[in-house]
């Protein structure tokens, strides 16, 4: 099966290398986790895909026409911006899917009125509930209460539906619970 995304001997960083060389791939229907301690270069590897960091050697291959939904670590919640939950989901096309029970009552509220954990879940659902081929979640459990993480794990399994999911996390228990494969990064 053609991978959605493949990192081939990638060394990523800025002026200097931060991480690599590293190789891994994400195929349709699987959840791959990038696990490592803080500072091991997990987010730098994701940045190499978007251009916020540089591929210093090696290469990243994408399946032609690949669509990506990306939630970056510590998502920004602009204060004073009156976007509500329904509108936020519309940005990624996630408004077409039935929202999880935990989230449904919050959608009518302004995003800047949600708690950190609620906003995190909203952003994660905005990525999972859309139709992107590949969903990338960078430290998705940040700010989440244990009960919310439990609901999120169920969602993750439920919504993979032949799509690839790349999860970046330093939380061992969470990664063990959700990932089909784990790529370990050294600190």
């Amino acid at each position: 099966m053609t991978p959605l995304l493949a990192y081939l001997e990638v060394v990523a960083g800025y002026a200097q290398p931060v991480v690599g060389p590293i190789s891994f791939e994400v195929r349709p229907g699987e959840i791959v986790a990038l696990r490592g301690p803080n500072g091991s270069g997990k987010s730098t590897l994701i940045g190499a895909l978007t251009g916020s960091s540089r591929v210093l050697s090696g290469r990243i291959e994408r399946r032609p026409g690949l669509t990506v939904s990306l939630q970056r670590q510590l998502p920004t919640r602009p204060e004073g911006i009156p976007l509500n939950g329904h509108e936020l989901l519309r940005l990624t096309g996630a408004h077409r899917a039935a929202p999880p029970a935990l989230l449904a009552p919050l959608l009518a509220l302004r995003a800047d009125k949600l708690s950190g954990g609620q906003f995190q879940l909203l952003e994660v659902w905005a990525c999972l509930g859309g139709a992107a081929d590949l969903v990338i979640l960078d430290e998705p459990t940040n700010n989440m209460a244990p009960s919310t993480i439990e609901a999120f794990v169920s969602l993750l399994h439920e919504k993979r539906n032949g799509r690839g999911v790349l999860v970046v996390s330093h939380e061992r228990g969470f990664v063990d619970e959700v990932a089909d494969r784990v790529v370990e990064l050294q600190g």
């Binding site: 978007t50 990506v68 990306l70 940005l91 009518a108 995003a111």
Partner: protein, 265 residues
């Protein structure tokens, strides 16, 4: 009191010109606020004024100088690829310096500089009205296309880049739109009133609005109402228009005290 002048045909073109600007500018201001670049309009307005004065010194029409300066400023801002207000502070200081130095070295420049800083709405012509109409058309045409991407960039940073869309092109298109809007508005209502039209209505309207579309509608209504009141008050009380408009816009800040709107469906 000269209230009968409010409906004088002589002021019809200036009134319509200002009204179109009073709707267009705050809608752009909503997205400027979204990007946390609220100082953009003041920086751009000051550079525009400097462009107008510099145009005179160089022997070209002040409007051409103003538009050129605004375009250059937006392009330069895009080229450094930094969000935030620091770039606009530099533009503001640069524009202020050039405008006043230019004015000091040319009698005509001083006159134009004074007009640009204070505004000259009552003396605007059909050409200004055509520019304002073109701006409103550009806002109506381009903002719906840019809106989703600008919101995505704010709420899901790097999402566009992950899908091989260029955020730089989107930001540049928006920056140019803001620059030309401010250039046009500065010609009609002056530097500070242009800034106030971009900054105050979204600030006032966002507080109690639940939902982006509602906030945009509220922003436009608040600004248009303040403008109509200011236009009538300035003529009726024989006061300079720019400061009256700014005062009326500031009063719209009272909207922030209204109870928040109920949740959106």
């Amino acid at each position: 009191m000269k209230w009968q002048l409010v409906v004088d045909p002589l002021f019809r073109v200036p009134f319509l010109n200002g009204l179109l600007l009073a709707v267009s500018m705050p809608l752009l201001g909503a997205y400027v606020r979204l990007r946390d670049e609220w100082l953009a309009s003041l920086g751009m307005a000051q550079v525009t004024a400097a462009g107008g004065v510099a145009g005179l010194l160089l022997g070209i029409h002040p409007i051409a100088g103003a538009l050129g300066a605004a375009g250059l400023a937006a392009t330069a801002k895009g080229a450094v690829r930094r969000s935030g207000n620091d770039v606009f502070v530099l533009l503001l200081l640069f524009g202020w310096s050039v405008a006043l130095l230019g004015a000091a070295n040319s009698a005509q420049g001083e006159e134009v500089s004074h007009a640009l800083l204070d505004g000259q709405l009552y003396f605007t012509s059909g050409a200004h009205l055509a520019g304002a109409a073109a701006l409103l058309a550009a806002v109506a045409l381009l903002l719906p296309r840019l809106s989703r991407r600008l919101l995505l960039e704010r709420f899901f940073p790097e999402h566009l880049a992950a899908n091989r869309e260029s955020p730089f092109r989107i930001h540049l298109a928006f920056d140019l739109l803001v620059a030309f809007a401010v250039a046009l508005a500065t010609q009609s209502v002056g530097v500070m009133a242009s800034f106030a039209l971009v900054f105050v209505p979204p600030w006032a309207a966002f507080a109690g609005a639940n939902g982006w579309r509602r906030a945009l509608a509220r922003t436009a209504v608040v600004a248009a109402a303040a403008y109509v009141v200011a236009f009538a008050a300035a003529i009726g009380l024989n006061q300079p228009f720019g400061p009256v408009l700014v005062a009326a816009l500031l009063l719209t800040g009272l909207v922030r005290l209204l109870p928040a709107a109920p949740g959106a469906g």
